[in-house]
Amino acid sequence: MGRITLEQVRKAFGPTEVIPPLDLEIDDGEFVVFVGPSGCGKSTLLRLIAGLEHISSGQIQIDGKDTTRLPPAKRGLAMVFQSYALYPHMSVRKNIAFPMRMAGIDAAEQTRRVEAAAKVLNLSDYLDRRPGQLSGGQRQRVAFGRAIVREPAAFLFDEPLSNLDAALRVGMRMEISELHKRLKTTMIYVTHDQVEAMTMADKIVVLQAGRIEQVGSPLELYNRPRNLFVAGFIGSPKMNLIAGAEAAKHGAATIGIRPEHIAVGEGEGEGLWTGKVGVSEHLGSDTFLHIHETGLAETITVRASGEMAIHHGDTVRLAPDMAKLHRFDGQGLRMSELQKH
């Protein structure tokens, strides 16, 4: 079981409040991602749940039990740190066994669990090496191993992939997702990378300045961002945000349209918007066009097909898909779809 409830959790360092009172519900078996720009309080929130920091007020419950005053080890949680925090003087085997050694589990059981974890994580051949002799990905897996053997109520991950190179990161992302499918244990995962959040999460919690901006499934966040911040943060490339007269036509202060929801044509004609092509990024499968001089915003980003032959300085027409238009009011909050037509 691993159901975690935060009630009015607040954290202040001296006079500065880093997390204003906040409520959050994490269901058993869920993969929850805390995402936000750096300094948004996501790591602090994770450390509060872990018990590495004391909360200033409020309550944290794990499986209905108040754990607010419990030391980290007694909360039944396991954590994977950004730097992996492996014990450099211990072999992989000893690293993985360490929490069990601390808990006084007998040696035979320790060996059994270490070997089982090593098998799952493809570490069987490396058990007698030191962390210093392992690659980044392998170290990462040892950190997982150390977490898994504790059979925790929930796993906490603090930006675990940020020290890996791009290719490895994609691979480890899959491994973590698979691990979650197999273990079916609650996982809380902190990252600043919205791609990681979108690909892994059951539920995303978007944070900014210690406040929760929105909680929802990846598709909910993508389709129905609650405010301008979430709209701009989720999705890559970023959603185009247009204010002014064009927005007023739709009865909004700001309208948003994602690059993938704009179609491109050439020459003069019926298109709603026109502009000049600036930089075009050819990714092979897709081409991202940065369009200038539209009179709407400084740049409008458009996703076009990979084969599109378009050159710098060409004038293009842009046809936004009106059904996919997002509207925001003066406070930056999402306006209901009903008012659209």
């Binding site: 590495l52 920091e53 004391h54 030391p71």
Partner: protein, 288 residues
């Protein structure tokens, strides 16, 4: 973040060190302070109270005091200049690609392990002796009159001896610092058209600034209390009497405890003035 338990444990763990250092510092210092206002000369059986500041006035107004302060400044300053300057040059050299660098490093580090009494004796007799010393042989070989190092150039001689002992320390720290300099920075500077001199002045020297402060701090701590080198070579004669040595002479050799104690207190005050200045610098470095 630390629990209450950890905090009280921490306090208990630091207590012995703080207590011992406090006792070590305060009790003898208070005794010295007490003696310094007495006319205390045990050999003559004099122990008279309440001289007030007489001892201090007598100590300060004696020519020996002013000379000793000057000698101390010249000695410490001279050694610092030689070791830091030489250390930078040696570190630059040892940072280059050369054959057998590890062995050269071992050779350079060796004087640091030699105890002060040994190095003073070896230099005094086997090198600086005006009749049989190696320098005398060398001077004669070139047809020159051998120098009587410890009587003609006593301060310079002691500075050389002590610099030889401390050069390894400066070199090692500066070399370590230099090796931590990102070589890409130097290559970037080279691309930007900086010649060797400019690269040294604008990139290497600023990078070494912190290491140089550390060298100066640590060496000053040790150099202010140079003792054995003077004790063995000149015994404080010929303008090599530092403040430390002067106090030692008053207290131990002439057994004038009152006067010597006043000098000791003055030495403590002067050292603290220097210490506060140095601590400021180190304190800033601590924050980094």
């Amino acid at each position: 973040m630390a629990t209450q338990h950890a905090r009280s444990a921490a306090r208990a763990m630091i207590a012995p060190a703080v207590f011992l250092l406090l006792v070590w510092m305060l009790i003898p210092l208070c005794m010295t302070l007490y003696f310094s206002v007495h006319d205390y000369r045990p050999l003559r059986g004099t122990f008279e109270c309440c001289e007030g500041l007489d001892n201090y006035i007598r100590f300060v107004s004696s020519g020996a005091f002013q000379d000793s302060v000057l000698t101390t400044i010249m000695m410490v300053g001279g050694i610092l200049v030689i070791t830091v300057g030489g250390g930078i040059l040696l570190a630059l050299l040892l940072d280059q690609a050369i054959w057998g660098r590890d062995i050269v490093r071992i050779l350079v580090i060796a004087p640091f392990f030699v105890m002060p009494t040994v190095s003073a004796l070896v230099w005094k007799n086997m090198f600086m002796n005006p009749v049989n010393g190696l320098f005398a042989h060398l001077w004669q070989f070139f047809g020159l009159q051998p120098v009587e190092w410890l009587t003609q150039l006593p301060l310079f001689s002691i500075i050389m001896i002590v610099s030889w002992q401390w050069l390894p320390f400066a070199t090692l720290i500066l070399l370590t610092a230099m090796q931590s300099l990102n070589s890409e920075q130097l290559e970037a500077a080279e691309m930007d058209g900086a010649g060797a001199v400019n690269r040294f002045g604008y990139i290497i020297l600023p990078h070494l600034a912190r290491a140089i402060t550390v060298v100066i701090l640590i060496q000053t701590i040790f150099l202010l209390s140079i003792f054995a080198e003077i004790f063995v070579t000149t015994g404080g004669a010929f303008d090599t009497r530092t403040l430390t040595y002067l106090v030692y002479q008053r207290v131990i050799e002439s057994q004038n405890i009152g006067l010597g104690s006043a000098g000791g207190i003055l030495a403590v005050i002067l050292a603290n003035i220097i210490a506060i200045g140095l601590m400021r610098i180190v304190g800033k470095n601590l924050d980094k």
